[in-house]
Structures are given as C-alpha cells and as structure tokens.
Assembly symmetry: C2
Homo-oligomer: 345 residues x 2
C-alpha cells in the first residue's frame, strides 16, 4: 500500500543567489519496498555548500550531477530509521545513512551505488555517537577534512596551517585535526563571533575575519613567517593570499570555493598562480567521496577525540524539511556555524 | 692588469613587449682574478623565457631577483673556457659552466652560490657532448624537463601526456622523455612548421598549433579520451584546456606561463580551477633549480639517448653578444625552435 511522503524539489535553476522560491515541497507516493530495498524514515538530512554547484543546468564536469527540476533531489546524505526492510542485513529499527535526503521517507536499495559510485545504505553504530554525527565528523565531513589535511595537503611535522571557513563543518574539523596533531593553526571566518569561536572553543593559535580588511594583510599578521599548508574552502582572494604566503614546498588542499559558487559567470582563477612555480608549491584538489577508504581512520581518530571531549563539533539545526532551502541559503551566506542539518519532521 | 670586456645591461624595465632598446652593450673593466676566482671567456650564453619575469622592478616573490638597471645581469647560465685560474681544481683551458652570462669575459668565484643557492662554477666533460649542450639537455633545461615530468607530474605507466610549447627547449625534452619511456604524447606549439617538427622529428603521437582554433578543441581532437599529465609552459587558455581535459587523479606540472610573461597587469588564473576539486587533480609548480640533485639522472638518461641519436635537440643560435636582447625578444614571441643560445664573440 503506497504511502504519502514529502520531498523538496527544485523548480528553477537559480541565477546568482539561491532563495526558497527556487524550491517547492511536494507530496509524492512512496511505493512499498521491493526485495533488496528498505523504507527509511529520515530524521536528519544534510545541507552543504557544494550543493550550490548542482543547482545548475550543467555543473562542473566530473562533479556530481545537476539536480533535476521537479523531481527528487538525489545524492544528498541523510540518516534515519528503517521502518520496513526487505533487504538482507537490515531490520526495522536500524539506524542507517544513505543518499536520499531532502525527503521524509525514502525507499533505498541496499548496495546501489549513489554518491560517486559508493553504495551508501549502511547501518550506523549509535553507541559511538548519535546518528546525526554520521552526517558530520564521523561521515562525509570528517572524511573530507581528514583526506584534505592528511592526504591532499600531506601534513608534515612542523607545518604551519591555515584553514579558511574554519568555523564551517569541514573547516572546523580540518583545523582541529591539525591542532590536535600539534601544529600551529590559523583559522579564518566571516564574523567576529566566529573568530571568538575559533580561538576560545577550537583553541586555534590565531584567527581573523576576512570581513576586516584584505585577507592577505590579516593572514600576514597571523603568520608573519608564512604558512606551509592551506586548506581552501573559499577560493578567490583567499587562495591568492595563500599563494602569496605559502613557503617553499608548501601545499594547498582545494576542497571547494564557496566564494565562487553563486557567481554567474566563470570564476576568475588566482592571478598569482605563478607563485606555485616560483616556490615549488602543490595545489591538490580533492573530493571526500574519493577517500571513503579513510572512513575507518576517521571513526577511530575523530571518534576517539569526540569521545574524549577534545573535538568540538557545532551544528546548526534547522527544524522542518520544508526549511531545507532556507538552510542552504543560510549556509551559502555564511550565516551558520559548523555543520548545517535539517531535522526532518 | 685590468682588461676591457663587454656586457649587456638593462637600461629600462620594459612594460609589455621587450625590445632591444631596453638594453645596451657596454665595455667594462674586468679585474684580475683573486684567490679562489677564475677568469672565463664565455663561448655561449643562455636565453630563456623565464628571464622576462626578472625584467621587472619587482618580480614574483620567491623567484630569481629582478635584474638591476645599468649593471651586469647575473644568474644567467653560460659556458666558456677558463683563461686564468686562481681557484683550486680549475686550470686554464677547462670547459666550465657558471651563472655570469650575457658578457664575454667573466670573473667567477668557485663555490659561490648563484642561482637559487647553487654554486655554479663546474667543469664540464666535453667528451660526452660539446660544452653548449650543458646549457641544454645536460644542464638546466634537461633538469627542468626531467624534474617536471618525472617528479612534479609523477609520470606513471599508461599516462597520456600533453606538453605545451613542445618545440621549445624544455618542452621538447619533456615530451621526448615521456615518449622514450613509452607514453602517448601530444605536443602543441605555435606554427604549422613546429607541428611538423613535433610529429616528424620528435616522433610525438599527435600535435597541434594553438593558432589554429581554440586550444581546448584541438586538444580534444588529439586526446578524445582525455589526458593524465599536462606539462605547462604556457598558462592561460592552455592551462584551462588541461583542467577541462585531465582525467581523475591527473597531474599538471607548472613550469612557467610564457603567455603571461609580457602581460602588464596581473594575469588571470584559470577560470575552471574547480575542476581540480571535482576530479582530484594535482597542480604542482616547480623550478628546475630546486631539482639539481637530478642532474646525474639527467646526464645518464638524456646523455645516453643523445649519444644513441634517439633524443632530438634543436638549437637556435644567434651570433654576437650584442644580439642577446634580440634573441630574448624572439624567444618570447615564439620565433625560435628548441633552445636559444647566443654565441659570444
């Protein structure tokens, strides 16, 4: 017997700023699960800046597909509870994660590849942490931060590290991984309040707001002798400041470029890329989804710090599925701290 | 007794295009060599595109110093013959290289660090190859090509390689190293004649001229399935085409950006840098001078191919020290093939 469920759909590709008017919440019929499938009641669903790149008729080649118009938005992480299972290894009551977010009930096929070829339906061990933490430090955010700072930036002893958007979901983890491993870490963010958070709660060595003067000037004050690693969440003037400041053999991990996601035309690249040649710098782009093999390391290292209370992880929770578009708008404008989650229901 | 010698001096920092009017050839007194010094009669001196970056009041941070006005231009490679030695280990008649080019006679201090901290006075084994080859495949050009393709781009089995400015001094070596190691190699250059050279003499698998339509279109024709390695000598639209074409986990070695050297304002970076994130790409800048430890590998591998006649190495020789500025102008406008050398005298 088919049931009715709600899902958020995109109705128009935004040009420039995203607003809730680009979306609609509709009721659709959810069929009964078929063999190999489970019915999940979603409890939390993810909102992250990279989604902006998929709100285009054609996104960057090689990235996730564009979201279709007037249809379910797939490849968005969610956690929830299995209501009915016809898939081996899953039972009613299981906590799971999967990639059919932005709806309240989802039919998920076990083993079906979703995000970048990864089969996403998996049971969660909620004795380690509440399910929604698997949308954060113990899931995609944690893997992205870990892969970026450890693998892409090849963090080495003695490195001085700068993380931009360091109050964000990924940035706050990347900054803390470096800090908890003993590095000098500088964080930047977009408000004085976030700067206090970076200093007082995350315990970073220095922090500045990019709204208080040119990024390069602020960075040079925080790191007068230069930096060795830059974890880039912003692009634009931030990446240029890093290129001007990275010491010989420095490395930049390119996680994303939120400053450019809402730009209408092509974004201008850094005007001082020649610094890479002059100083033997490496810029390495990376996607967390390509480093899923790091998940066990993440659960062990970040899960351990989390259990010991040494890893700070803030969430901004927005209540109500129908407010997911508003949540995305707030993420893109910098009006959230840490991981943005929508509590479904 | 001091002797008179000629040297080329910069009299004005060019804005935009370099012309011979920015230079003057003057006579200066050369003192007698002091203990630890040798007097060298230069036979060949080097002309390379990167010099353009030093014809500025302030060049890119971390790069070689700007050339001073109305003074000798240092840190330019030259080869020559020792006329008089007061340095241990050197005798009159020795063939040497050093970094005091663009003059006919030079006083060189043994062991004195020049280029990026390297002590440049060294005796050359001219039984392997004529001295001027040490300004090319067996010297800085060879090390730059080798370090770029092997170390910076981390060439791996099966990689499809694109080299831009592949008819140039460094590009022709990089392309041939990849080709002689068994890769599919695409070269690009700026004229139909150079394309024929790449195909007929260097034996590359495909080649195109960037003057015949958008680089990206030509590249896609030559590499319909994409590339894995890009050796960048050009920057600009070439680097953008590479970012659009590199397959997941591809690598770009950033050797230089001749297309931008004469630009007056800051060069625009690639507008599609996000492709690095989307496809897990690495961009690694590098300077040959940072990889001098590769010189023995270069002399062995490239020297071997050269002796066997398998490595093609073309030179454009311009006669007369006073024509060095003209030679540089021709290099920057793409009007030379292979390594540009000035025969002094």
């Amino acid at each position: 017997m088919a049931m009715l469920a709600r899902q958020v759909q995109l109705v128009e590709y935004p040009v420039g700023e995203v607003t809730p008017d680009h979306f609609v919440t509709v009721e659709v019929e959810v069929p009964d699960p078929q063999p190999g499938q489970v019915l999940v009641r979603n409890t939390f669903t993810s909102v992250d800046p990279g989604m902006r790149l998929r709100l285009r008729r054609s996104g960057p080649a090689g990235y996730f597909n564009s979201f279709p118009l007037n249809a379910a938005m797939d490849d968005i992480w969610a956690v929830g509870e299995v209501i009915e299972s016809r898939a081996e290894g899953f039972s009613a009551g299981d906590s799971v994660w999967h990639a059919k977010g932005w709806r309240d009930y989802a039919i998920v096929t076990a083993g079906e590849p979703a995000l970048a070829g990864i089969a996403t339906l998996a049971r969660l061990d909620t004795s380690v942490a509440p399910a929604e933490k698997y949308l954060g430090p113990l899931g995609a955010m944690g893997v992205t931060a870990y892969a970026g700072i450890i693998d892409a930036a090849e963090l080495r002893d003695g490195d001085v590290v700068w993380v931009s958007a360091a109050a964000g979901a990924v940035g706050s983890l990347a900054a803390q991984i470096a800090k908890l491993r003993g590095h000098r870490v500088i964080g930047s963010a977009g408000s004085a309040e976030k700067v206090r958070y970076l200093l007082d709660e995350l315990g970073l060595d220095a922090a500045f707001s990019y709204r208080e003067g040119p990024v390069l000037d602020r960075l040079r004050e925080a790191a007068p002798d230069g930096i060795d690693v830059y974890f880039d969440n912003v692009g634009g003037d931030h990446l240029e400041a890093a290129l001007a400041t990275l010491r010989p053999w420095g490395r930049a991990a390119l996680c994303g470029a939120i400053s450019e996601y809402e730009s209408v035309g092509p974004a201008a690249g850094p005007s001082n890329l020649f610094q890479a040649t002059a100083n033997n710098l490496t810029l390495r782009g990376f996607r967390g989804s390509a480093y899923q093999h790091r998940l066990p390391d993440v659960v062990r290292e970040l899960g351990g710090w989390l259990a010991e209370g040494r890893l700070v992880y803030r969430e901004t929770v927005i209540d109500g599925l129908e407010r997911a578009p508003e949540a995305l708008m707030r993420v893109l404008s910098g009006d959230t701290t840490g991981k943005a989650l929508v509590r479904v229901g």
